[in-house]
């Protein structure tokens, strides 16, 4: 068996822009800002970067296709640059490219950068998805869906499987969103910084049954970046600082079984359930509920976060509702803080940047860089969970980082 990535890659520096409806900024502006921040934090020069992976999911609304406009924007000096996308898990995919390059010994220092300009579509929500995962035949045989509609289906299946009344599920989802708004309000970089009450959440207009407006994450502009290197090089540059290392990096992509065969019940996300134990094993974690200090999950919708508690084996199957309602995932709830930066829900979701934004939060928490009001005390392991696609067909990236 391959020995995995544990302790082979260190995060040398990170950068993240404000997320939001950044009408005055282009994707190029955001790219430059995240890159500049990241270089500064890494304490290296641009010409020390050996290779770059850029995540941009919807280049037709942003900077454009191929790697070239990105390399030209950042003036990267004739190094290998790859632009990639893997739906909403694009940012983590860029991180994987850079991490694999370092872990393999091919590169000493690699850049992962993700960017998305979602607010130049002219309407709210993500662009139309008609047949998006099925190629050119998709518009004909694929259903007319939106992102909230694809994920909303988790709720009806969850209700049917666990016989938990929808009102109770809605209450748990409201707590999840309420908690993320509380955290987002503390975060100056977040897109949505207003506190909301659970009553407001429960009474919001229906987007896709049973998801109301506040069950859906923000759709934002933004960029985030990471520079990775070997732990040895990291230590040589940052002699007086803890080094954040990659403990596990596992990706699972649906095989087609969930969407074509009948075994999958629609009440969970299989890729997460399959990638999580692989990640824990790679990181040497035996009991995630005891050992994970904090986590950033792909809360595109509150129901996704609820399912993910269970798919990551933090909550028992069917127990996510109780854990959420008991405040187990609240920032100061005594459990495991989830979305300490506000999550996709409130920090926002510029698709290509989101996986790196999650990592940015874990990285800064591990380095105790946040003010006390939003610092997780003595974190050991942070986990990011970045999901792209829809419950029946998706890609999930789970990354565990620690000191």
């Amino acid at each position: 068996m391959a020995e995995g990535i544990r302790d082979k890659v260190a995060i040398l520096g990170m950068g993240c822009t404000n997320f939001g409806e950044l009408w005055d900024k282009s994707g190029n502006d955001l790219l430059v800002e995240a890159f500049t921040m990241c270089l500064e934090d890494a304490q290296i020069e641009k010409n020390e970067i050996d290779a770059c992976w850029v995540g941009a999911c919807m280049p037709e609304f942003g900077i454009g296709g191929t790697s070239m406009p990105y390399a030209a924007t950042l003036k990267l000096p004739f190094i290998p640059v790859t632009r990639l996308e893997n739906a909403c898990a694009t940012g983590s995919e860029a991180f994987r490219g850079a991490s694999y390059a370092v872990a393999s010994g091919v590169c000493d220092i690699a850049l992962a950068i993700g960017v998305e300009k979602t607010k130049d579509t002219g309407y709210g929500g993500l662009p139309n998805m008609r047949g998006g995962l099925m190629g050119t035949v998709g518009p004909i045989i694929g259903p007319n869906v939106s992102a909230p509609g694809m994920f909303a289906q988790l709720a009806a299946a969850y209700e049917a499987k666990y016989k938990i009344p929808m009102d109770k599920i809605k209450e748990a989802m409201a707590h999840i969103s309420w908690k993320s708004h509380e955290n987002g309000a503390l975060n100056p970089y977040a897109h949505l910084r207003r506190r909301v009450t659970k009553e407001q959440i429960l009474n919001a207009p229906m987007i896709s049954y049973p998801l109301g407006l506040f069950d859906c994450c923000g759709v934002s502009d933004g960029a985030a970046a990471a520079i990775v290197t070997t732990p040895e090089i990291a230590k040589s540059i940052k002699r007086n600082q803890d080094i954040v290392k990659v403990k596990a990096l596992q990706i699972a992509t649906s095989s087609g079984e969930e969407s074509i065969c009948n075994e999958y019940d629609g009440a969970s996300i299989w890729t997460t359930s399959k990638a999580a134990p692989r990640a824990y094993e790679e990181a040497g974690i035996k009991n995630p509920r005891e050992e994970i200090s904090m986590f950033e999950v792909h809360d595109c919708f509150s129901i996704t976060e609820l399912s993910t508690y269970e798919d990551l084996q933090i909550s028992p199957r069917g127990g996510g509702v109780e854990d959420a309602l008991n405040g187990f995932f609240d920032l100061k709830g005594g459990g495991i803080p989830c979305q300490s930066d506000g999550g996709l829900k409130c920090f926002g979701h510029p698709i290509g940047a989101s996986g790196l934004r999650m990592m940015y939060e874990m990285y800064n928490q591990l380095l105790h860089r946040w003010p006390e009001e939003r610092q997780v005390p003595n974190p050991k392991f942070g986990l990011t969970h970045n999901l792209g696609g829809q419950p029946i067909q998706n890609v999930v990236s789970i990354c565990i980082v620690g000191l």
Binding site: T121, G122, Y123, G125, P127, N128, M129, R130, M134, T136, V137, P139, I140, I141, P143, N144, V145, S146, A147, P148, G149, A152, Q153, L154, A155, A156, A157, E159, A160, P205, M206, I207, S208, Y209, L211, S255, G256, E257, S259, I260, C261, N262, D265, G266, P391, I392
Partner: protein
Amino acid sequence: MVGIRSYGGYIPRYRLDRMKIYQSMGWINQANIAHARGEKAVANVDEDALTMAVAAGLDCVNGFDRSEMDGVYFASTSFPYKERQNAGIVAGALCMNDNVRSADFGGSLKSGTTALLSALEAIASQGANNLVVCASENRLGGTGSTQELIFGDGAAAFLVSDKDVIAEYKGSFSLTYDFVDHFRGSNSTFDRQWEDRWIRDIGFDRFIPEAVNGLMNKYGLKIGDFAKVIYPCYYPREHSKLAKILGVEDGKLQDTMLGQVGEMGAAQPMAMLVKALEEANPGDKLLVVSYGSGCDALWFEVTDNIKKLNGRRGISSHLANRTELDVYEKYLTWRNIIQPDVGLRTEEDVWTRWSVDWKNKKAILGFYGTKCLKCGVPQFPPQRICANPQCGAVDQTEPYTFADKGGKICTFTGDNLTATMDPPETYGNIDFDGGGRYMMNFTDCTVESLSVGMPVEFSFRIVFYDPKRDLTVYFWKAVPTNKGV
């Protein structure tokens, strides 16, 4: 023996109270109050003449071996395509073989019976053994017009055969007149009609008796020989008056369903014939007459086989399956008569790539997937590598249609965000009876009525209409049946 072997019907679920139309548009023509009684059947946003023809056709061929079918004739004056054969799409949706004959019959409201006659004569001449004839109509009346109140949507289908005939074809008599009571030029959306009195006096009162008498003289019959006399006439009083002129006894005149469905154009006499067959007894003689640019009169004699034909929904069960359309403006929107602003999301361009459509034609029209020959798991869309992780066989498949399988709801939602003319858009994962799963749109339901485990059946519907290229794209949707829950 040549005749009708099976029948099928379809009336869309939505009914629009005519008074609702009058309350909105009656001010423009107050005399229309005379037509504001009862309700009219209205095709859903994802239905047109073609999808309703498929629905009636599926009802008709239910339980019959599709490989026995030699072709399909489709009659309408409201085809979605002028060029691209509509009957060819119907043949695909009815899962017929490729080596079948197909033809569109249009141009007149008598085209339904003309298609039926053509099929009967093709069978009689031994040119074919089994032909499906569909007639379907989704006609528009101008906003505020009498036609808007009168016209209704519906379809009928017959399987014409030389085997197991339930009603033997005995003969016909046709008339052709270039009588322009109404017309629609090739660039027009709405019919243009001449004065009602002239249509009644010359059209109905003269042509229908001429056709009926012509047929009776030809075959030595009297009006009293017929158990049911079937002819269209959207003037209720004229319909009864004609019965008196013809000498039709009480109880033998077939109802036009004007108050429940409306005038169904080319499908009108066909749907009335379906209704008559639903109630017919062996030995009954049926006379059916169409009206439009002349007349076709046909007569049939019902056989003992009528008692053996079960499992048709026909017209009656569709009459019973009704839901009131709450808002008249929805009808106007769905028929593209008014164009509400539904936001920029609806303006995203979706190309239909015909070479892609061609490669996937069996999946699109016949809802064909694959069934793994090694493990037996049915799969949609068609797969080359078996999706069953315990199997994984490569290229060991046979075509397998899901169109006639039922299914159950596995997951669902009602989506207010996605671009649709009938929010919320309902969809979810369906587990097919017999295995297999697919996420698909639902139709003819509300999100409030849905639950996990609810049974569904499948219906051929419009997926979207592309106004830029004037093309309609079709595929299958799930219709919750609300039974057994």
